[in-house]
Symmetry: C2
Subunit: 361 residues, 2 copies
């Protein structure tokens, strides 16, 4: 693509995750880093230097300045969740396309303000869930959609846990009620729920029930939680997320005819290849002393890391709008909202003393 067709990104906020996404913007063939804004010009300068920004990238001492820059097509917003609605709405109003970190909002109603602003301003929305852009994910989805190899989904269990250190548990935005009030549920649970939705073909469950013993910190922010989800057709999902356990991220999906195991679904063990395991129509031998066959390992290679593929896809959609008069792709805000809806239901179930919460599509 001609360089002048590349989508010009501004980054607002210098969170840790912005380092990785800035690199991804540099790696994406259809995007360029054009500006960074922080609450101080010094921080923006330091961030740009530390992350190898191009010399002509603009440095701003405020978020507004990035949004007011007519050379910027799109913004990446890594700010704490409590600031999402404010800055995503302003960005949309300034006709900037919005790539927003997850969780997208503190609740779905708040997220609706973001969607409304994006829709009425004709800008693309996408959340920062990177793993769904890895080519492995579509191969996994093919397996889960295969009537012969997988059949009908009956149960799925997902988890994402990591061991946060003392500094994180004291100071990270994810433990602060005024910043990322959903804590581990919003941070880690988000991915678990997205994987469940992907396997359930993005159909929302009818009922969500939080596990009975979530761990809250002194400020009431969720440090560890789980839930079970129930669909009309009898499908069941469970997930577990925590800041207090060894790093683990699994999808175990069981269908009538097949089984899927993924052990590194959010961040693959390696950048350029990622694997998963499937089995179909598994059987024991006649005397039930061993299996007829073992699961198959599937490996998918990628030249670009998944976060760069996310930026590439987002930039492609933005380019379609900018250069070809296309409409924004609604798939992305739709699945963001479904993910948020389930998080809301888990949170509501906790708040109501572990009552089941019913969801309407």
């Amino acid at each position: 693509m001609p360089q002048n067709h590349a989508i010009r990104f501004g980054v607002i906020g210098c969170a840790d995750i912005a380092r990785k996404v800035s690199r991804a913007i540099s790696l994406a063939p259809n995007a360029v880093i054009a500006a960074v804004g922080s609450r101080s010009l010094d921080k923006a300068k330091l961030f740009a230097e530390a992350n190898g920004f191009p010399d002509d990238a603009k440095l701003y001492g405020s978020y507004e300045a990035v949004l007011d820059d007519p050379d910027i097509d799109a913004v990446y917003v890594p700010l704490p969740t409590s600031l999402h609605v404010r800055w995503a709405v302003v960005a949309a109003q300034k006709k900037k396309h919005v790539l927003l970190e997850k969780p997208v909002a503190l609740n779905a109603l708040e997220f609706d303000e973001i969607i409304e602003a994006c829709e009425s301003n004709g800008v693309q929305f996408m959340d920062g869930t990177m793993w769904v852009h890895h080519p492995r994910t579509s191969v996994i989805k093919d397996f889960l959609s295969d009537a012969h190899r997988f059949g009908e989904l009956k149960s799925i269990h997902t988890c994402f846990t990591f061991g946060a250190d003392a500094d994180f548990l004291q100071n990270n935005i994810r433990v602060k009620p005024d910043l990322d009030a959903l804590g581990s549920l919003g941070d880690a649970g988000w991915y678990c729920v997205r994987a469940i939705l992907l396997a359930a073909n993005y159909k929302l469950p009818k009922t969500v029930l939080a596990s009975r013993d979530p761990v809250l910190n002194e400020a009431g922010v969720i440090m560890a939680a789980g839930a079970s989800l129930y669909w009309e057709d009898g499908k069941v999902a469970t997930f577990y997320c925590s800041f207090f356990s060894n790093l683990t991220m699994d999808i175990t999906a069981i269908g009538t005819k097949g089984t899927l195991h993924v052990h590194d679904f959010i961040i693959p063990y390696q950048e350029k290849e990622a694997s998963f395991y499937t089995s179909s129509e598994s059987k024991f031998d006649e005397l039930v002393t061993k299996w007829d066959s073992q699961p198959s390992k599937h490996t998918v290679n990628t030249d670009l890391p998944q976060e760069a593929l996310m930026v590439t896809e987002f930039s492609r959609l933005v380019g379609e709008i900018k250069f070809n008069n296309s409409k924004p792709e609604k798939k992305w805000p739709t699945i963001s909202r479904k993910t948020q809806t389930i998080l809301d239901a888990v949170k509501a179930s906790i708040d109501r003393g572990f009552e089941p919460v019913h969801i309407q599509e």
Copy 2:
């Protein structure tokens, strides 16, 4: 060991599973198959022929005849669960040591009659859970007990599902309320619960809550179910069992410092070796684009299949009682009862409309 020190087994009932355990008795170095009893002498004969019984094995047309045979030290009881209490109690009264299929009873109170009969007659009790006798299981237990590699257990998920065919769903004892009334919960859930107990160091949870959508057949027998279990210290366990899904059997145990994955914990993929995966202190790289290290695969070899090791251990304990005046080992009935107690709680939670059920140690 001298052949006259080998423990002489009688098998009562010719269930499918008795074929595998008869082979295991033949393989065990300290046991011999000495008799089989069925409701008809013809069936006993056919079973003995089909399963390569020694020529001097006695064939009986009733269960009582096996129990009355003074040459028999121990009985293997593969009868439907509803018959367990009757026949295990009579066996103990006739001073036969009892190797009993799982689930051990329809409920823990019924099982207490079995324990009482075994204790008052000085005979060994063991249930037919084979996988705990695989040498892999003790290596797994070592990992789970390791404060440095695994730390403290925080969450565990187990499952056992298989796709039962139309004949099974119509005719198998496990779908019949008068035979194996606990259905999939007693058959498949038993193993899930045992794995959870092993990881929890056999400490019972304080609360058990059944998943909201169990599948029952027309007779009200459980075909698919799940539950979550909660301990005082905040540990959480979930499990899922089903007759309607592809064959799958997992343990995923997450501790503060380590993670365990097992994908074939009940029946290993192969008879003579079995694997599992561990990771400890797992971390991402600095930019969170990949992992520092991948899980380690551990493989444990065994000359004898796990069911023969079960028979060997049971026979060793019987030998200690018979030849060395030892007392029966209480560990085995104790963990059987704990497993049954949790199954009872899951069943009670289902029967009470998914209320949490509190357990007292």
